[in-house]
Point group: C2
Chain length 460, copies 2
Amino acid sequence: MHIHKLFILIVLLAFSNTVSSQTDETVIKDIYHTSLTNGKSYEWLEYLTKQIGSRLSGSLGAERAVTWTKEELDKLGLDRVWLQPVMVPKWVRGAKEYAYIESAAGKTTSVNICALGGSVPTPALGVKANIVEVHDFEQLAALGTAGIEGKIVFYNRPMQTDLINPFDAYGKAGDQRRQGAFEASKYGAVGVIVRSLNSRLDDLPHTGNMSYRDLPESKRIPAAAISTNDAELLSTMLKLDDNIKFYFKQNCKQFNDVQSYNVIGQITGSQFPDEYMVVGGHLDSWDLGDGAHDDGVGVVQSMDVLRLFKELGIKPKRTIRVVLFMNEENGSRGGTKYAEEAKRNNENHIFALESDSGGFTPRGFSFDCNDAQFGNIAQWEPLFKPYLIHYFEKGESGADVGHLKNGTTVLAGLFPDPQRYFDYHHASNDTFDAIDKRELELGTATMASLLYLVDKYGIK
Amino acid sequence: MHIHKLFILIVLLAFSNTVSSQTDETVIKDIYHTSLTNGKSYEWLEYLTKQIGSRLSGSLGAERAVTWTKEELDKLGLDRVWLQPVMVPKWVRGAKEYAYIESAAGKTTSVNICALGGSVPTPALGVKANIVEVHDFEQLAALGTAGIEGKIVFYNRPMQTDLINPFDAYGKAGDQRRQGAFEASKYGAVGVIVRSLNSRLDDLPHTGNMSYRDLPESKRIPAAAISTNDAELLSTMLKLDDNIKFYFKQNCKQFNDVQSYNVIGQITGSQFPDEYMVVGGHLDSWDLGDGAHDDGVGVVQSMDVLRLFKELGIKPKRTIRVVLFMNEENGSRGGTKYAEEAKRNNENHIFALESDSGGFTPRGFSFDCNDAQFGNIAQWEPLFKPYLIHYFEKGESGADVGHLKNGTTVLAGLFPDPQRYFDYHHASNDTFDAIDKRELELGTATMASLLYLVDKYGIK
């Protein structure tokens, strides 16, 4: 009898163990199945990119994206959908830029440029000056005022192709774009031309944010990106004759801040409504393409995570929010605002996941958390192996959810295959046709599966 | 003194250990660095796809590819480069196919089809008949002669989108293309139209091999692939009116076998010249595109593996061969011939790696070997982690090297990200622009690194 009871107990334990572990596997399988056969991400992304298009902060596109995503979230039967007001900067490119290289003999060669976000315009008739190539701020400082004054500075340090993750190469080359004008203005430069942060050679200029910091308006010089092919051309022409001139004209303008919004939808937790989990991406984009990879993908995947929960009848124990952040690209005001409000309302955010690295095949996640938390989360990795997800590493999360960092909230970023991201980043080819439906939907399912596990087991 | 000697010995051992483990890491780092900054794969692929183009067995393109790859290998300073003769089938598509759906009222709608490789032509004026949709051979058998005779059979079972690896979905749907005509002819069908083996919806028909087995010529019926969009259209029109007719005309022809070649280059091993390692891909392609992903990629990556060895001064202890196999697509004669010759010459092949799954970001390798061998190879996996390579699994290798299977030779296949492969497979969009330079070069480096390890440590 004693033995019988023990036997039954063992059987029951074994059974409950099996059921519990099968349940996670089954739910995750359902999530992937539904995302791949009945997903909404791709359809939503088509609308966002082709019907709305680019969504630079303060633009009509951004305004329409706020209205439309709220309407779509309203249809999902969530517990709450609302707009969180946030003031955003408004920078407008104006008429297309124009630039050429002029030889000593007066022969001109047109090149492809675009103003960097936040740049001042050139004078109405443009800037023409000698141009000097540098690879970093040390070279710039070595040339000093004597070598720079009255000239245009050409930053031409390429993204390092032998770094396996192009995001590392982007990090190492990014100072040229962000601080190049600020640094060059110290020595009296009249403009800067920056090699596009693109890992391949093509004809597209890639925009992106730059800053003058605290420079007075009178000291601010226009800054533009040049395509990688034209950067190579310009460099070659400079080697042949360092007396060539560069002309460019851009027509951008900074306006006063305007009202905008983060868009938020929520399913309230059934057991622990005061524990918050966030999944999000950013609603704004640069103005040259349609913001498909950056970050239409993150927007529609995050929306689809909540839709999948509803569709599959997963009723979260904890509160899950989709947050579509405004103004990641040139101010991060939406991320800042969301974190401020969360703090003001004493909301206990246990987890926040961002998708802002493109719509390529998901490889895993990068976690910004402590070692103990990471150790617990890493135990889930085997559940993802059938879906070809192998990357669970500590690292950065996302520019928007990053504002929630407080030492206890676990922050995470979806890690899609990174190789082609900078082919499209901030350029006119970041459009719907650059997105593969399956890859997008696999990303959505990967995000939903992680949120399912965080909800079920909490963060330890 | 005794202690001193022991101390020195320990220091030496520690040092040699460190050097040895650092050496693998350093060599692999050099391989990736060189492939990404000074690779030849991409330039070679551009020539192969854009200057030579499609390379169906027996075609002028295939002949030119043999000549050109041999010439390129000749330039590398290998120990031996030669052509291995092999007779191959010659099937020619002829003039572009033409097809339409005809409503009961006589209204016609054009659709995109292409003859399947190996198919007989239609009569000169084409075939027009009622058409009946089935999803598998059981449905076909259930309809039987009464339901099929005199009609065209339309196989319309899609690739399953919820299988994570599309190669699995391809495997499950492929019987329609390969055996569809053979099966339908049993019941008196006059032709078959097969839904393209493409995981997405688009307008491109995808060809591929089919077989009539031992059917007498008189029983052979023409077989064509239809684009996935047109398969959906045809299915819808059949649901609206099952009395519609389908017309198609194709002009293909089977010729007598012709002479062709495998192209082989070799670096002879310095210590164990009688242990052979093969790295290869297939030189032939289908005729609709330029055979970029399938398998121009495998050709240029394999060539570049040997070039990297030379460039980096890696002198293999074992003999390494690049083998560019002819006729993988419609006969596998090159793979068969190479294995026959290897056996006839008593060559001890310890390892053979094939790249024939596209030029996408490499994820790892699939190994066809025994558990003990796999256990030893899997110990190298951590060396690949810095390169975002996480997939070392037992599985299939490649159609060409597969012929070397003998229970001791370890066979392997490069495993690139599989999600987009069937977007291009056997279709007219399998062209150079579908290849990303970085992804291609990462694949080359991943292959070269594995061969370096196999050479250094052998197969245990």
